[in-house]
């Protein structure tokens, strides 16, 4: 007699469009120039990081300023897999996720004792500690950093196939592979978050965010949910870090654990776009990319503009750009509302 549905027209359209986009995205290397592929790689990896951070802060209430710890450890683990264990870089990427997961356990144990601003700063300090420890890892170059050896970068799994498929040079094949992996990752992460929000866990997350006390009183284990979200986020961040640095082929502690690149810009993307929505980071990463492409050649003026835009958006559109749009239009591209359908029920979204 009663039914639960999360379907809306906008949601269905989005799903179909997304499917189309992903297929187009997979086929893109056949048509697009390397420049486009590389730009997309950047966009996709930043989007992945942004979605993950949004899951943490926007849905889980965990404002971490230490995500660079997981990017960095993931990247270093990948390098270790390649250089020390002689693995193929593609197989070393999951090692990055694993390393981040392992690091997340003590981090969570420590950081969950802290609240709010303390939590933010605690995670930052842990990331610093990780950076300083990794900087002492002499076999991977210590503070100097290290580069992926040529024989590793030229033998990446699947690049031969891609070269044959698109008849491109080796470096371009590597780009395409990395791009595909980034596409898969972003789809998995975004899809995973979307699925999570539509699952029981999503309800629990919202409940905890709205009212911890009440959430406990209906049986939600707030602590376990925070752990789960934090660990998942860390592992996914580690994978992304490994992928990013596979593409760079060079690593150093300062680069891998850069708070500005891997956390501050990511926060910028999420908050400018609209925190607590899946649409927000997507919009945010586009804004960020456009700003960067348009202004990056202006050196310090670019960064100054970026800073001022962050301030302006917070003053005039505290819910981000997607917040403005959805408030006006009521649009939700990724509906997570569970609606009860049946007789005698009114009320829309």
């Amino acid at each position: 007699m009663y039914r639960l549905t999360t379907r809306t027209r906008a949601g269905t359209v989005t799903a179909i469009a997304a499917l189309g986009l992903v297929i187009a995205g997979l086929a893109l290397p056949a048509f697009a120039s390397r420049g486009v592929i590389q730009d997309l790689f950047f966009i996709l990896t930043m989007l992945t990081l942004a979605q993950i951070w949004n899951l943490l802060a926007g849905y889980g209430g965990l404002v971490s300023v230490g995500q660079q710890a997981f990017v960095g450890i993931g990247a270093y683990a990948m390098f270790a897999g390649v250089i020390l264990l002689g693995w193929n870089p593609v197989w070393a990427i999951p090692l990055g996720g694993l390393a981040a997961l392992v690091l997340a356990v003590p981090t969570a144990f420590f950081a969950f004792r802290l609240q709010g601003a303390y939590f933010a700063i605690g995670t930052w300090v842990i990331a610093e500690v990780t950076r300083l420890l990794v900087a002492q890892w002499k076999t991977l170059g210590g503070g100097t950093g290290t580069s992926l050896p040529r024989e590793a970068t030229s033998n990446i799994l699947g690049t031969d196939l891609i070269r044959a498929l698109f008849s491109v040079r080796e470096a371009a094949a590597r780009d395409i592979l990395a791009y595909w992996l980034a596409l898969v990752l972003v789809v998995a992460v975004t899809g995973g978050i979307y699925w999570l929000l539509r699952s029981r866990l999503g309800l629990a997350l919202s409940a905890v965010r709205d009212n911890v006390e009440a959430a406990r009183s209906v049986g939600v284990d707030a602590g376990r949910i925070k752990w789960a979200v934090f660990l998942i986020a860390a592992a996914a961040t580690g994978l992304t870090g490994a992928l990013i640095f596979l593409q760079t082929a060079r690593i150093s502690p300062d680069a891998a654990f850069a708070v500005t690149d891997w956390t501050a810009y990511v926060i910028f993307i999420v908050v400018i776009g609209g925190i607590g929505t899946i649409e927000g980071p997507i919009l945010g990463v586009i804004v960020f990319f456009v700003l960067r492409s348009a202004l990056a050649d202006y050196g310090s003026w670019y960064l100054m503009t970026l800073g001022l835009i962050a301030i302006a958006v917070m003053l005039f559109a505290p819910k981000g750009l997607w917040g403005l749009i959805s408030a006006r239009s009521g649009l939700h591209l990724f509906p997570v509302r569970r609606k009860l359908v049946g007789l005698k029920i009114e009320g829309g979204n």
Binding site: V63, L114, L132
Partner: protein
């Protein structure tokens, strides 16, 4: 002997960190504002003092005195025009705004002053030292430490023995009820940020005389300042000094073992304190 020296130098270094942190402590304590631009504001103030020295030919001390009211005004404006509008239960908006400010400030300074490493000249004081028998200490670090204590005593006096300080504490406890007492929380916040900027100027003076600065060095010190504030406990100024000293001593002892451990030891000291006392050494009864 060497350990005593290490201890003394660590304590003196803690004075510098406490100076960096005192302004932050005030602002963080009163309005829970995580100001990511604090380090850059210190650098900004250092340039202001430097301008006074190079352009007006003032002594650094006088230049700092001149810079103080300017910085107070800047803090007031910053709080009134920007920060007051984003303060709230959610820590993110101020986080992003101050991050934006930090980036904008760093690059604005770069445009204005170039990447050259600069320094506030302190003349003979730079190398001057005092032989205390067992240890030899630099006059400048000693002065820094004494200034940190003076700043903290002054802020404490202000905080606990004046009507303004009472308003600070009341607003910090409960801004809404403070409003019912006729206190405008936003005005109080603006004054607090102004005062924090005066302290920032003092920190800038010592930072600039101790070593070189350039537009990019702000963030490196920010994290120590936060650690000092948090170790001490929200709103406890003496706690902030203690926090600075703990980090300073941990750093010098870490370095004495091996310089590789210097910075790490400071952070680890912070983590240990947080593990044992998640609300800091001298937490307030209620926050």
């Amino acid at each position: 002997m060497i350990w005593l020296d290490t201890l003394v130098q660590g304590i003196l270094l803690g004075g510098l960190y406490a100076l960096f942190a005192a302004g932050l402590s005030l602002v963080f304590g009163i309005m829970r504002l995580v100001n990511l631009a604090h380090g850059d504001l210190i650098v900004f103030a250092a340039y202001l003092v430097l301008l006074g020295v190079t352009m007006l030919g003032l002594s650094p001390w006088i230049a700092a005195l001149v810079a103080m009211p300017l910085m107070f005004g800047l803090g007031w404006l910053l709080q009134t025009v920007v920060l007051n509008r984003v303060l709230g239960k959610d820590i993110l908006p101020p986080l992003l705004v101050t991050f934006g400010l930090s980036v904008a400030l760093q690059n604005g300074l770069l445009e204005a002053f170039s990447a050259d490493s600069r320094r506030i000249p302190a003349g003979a004081l730079e190398g001057a030292s005092l032989d205390l028998g067992l240890v030899t200490v630099g006059v400048m670090p000693l002065l820094t430490f004494v200034s940190a204590i003076v700043v903290i005593v002054a802020l404490n006096g202000l905080f606990y023995h004046t009507a303004l300080g009472r308003a600070f504490r009341a607003t910090s406890d409960d801004a809404v009820t403070a409003g019912l007492m006729g206190i405008e929380p936003k005005r109080i916040f603006a004054i607090a940020t102004g005062i924090a900027m005066v302290v920032v100027t003092i920190a800038a003076l010592y930072l600039g005389m101790r070593s070189n600065f350039d537009p990019s060095i702000g963030p490196a010190r920010l994290i120590y300042a936060f650690e000092a504030v948090i170790i001490g406990g929200l709103g406890s100024l003496w706690g902030t000094l203690a926090g600075g000293v703990i980090i300073g001593v941990a750093q010098t002892f870490g370095a004495a073992v091996n310089p590789e451990w210097q910075i790490l030891a400071g952070h680890i000291a912070f983590l240990i304190v947080m593990l044992l006392k998640p609300r800091g050494l001298f937490p307030r009864a209620v926050d």
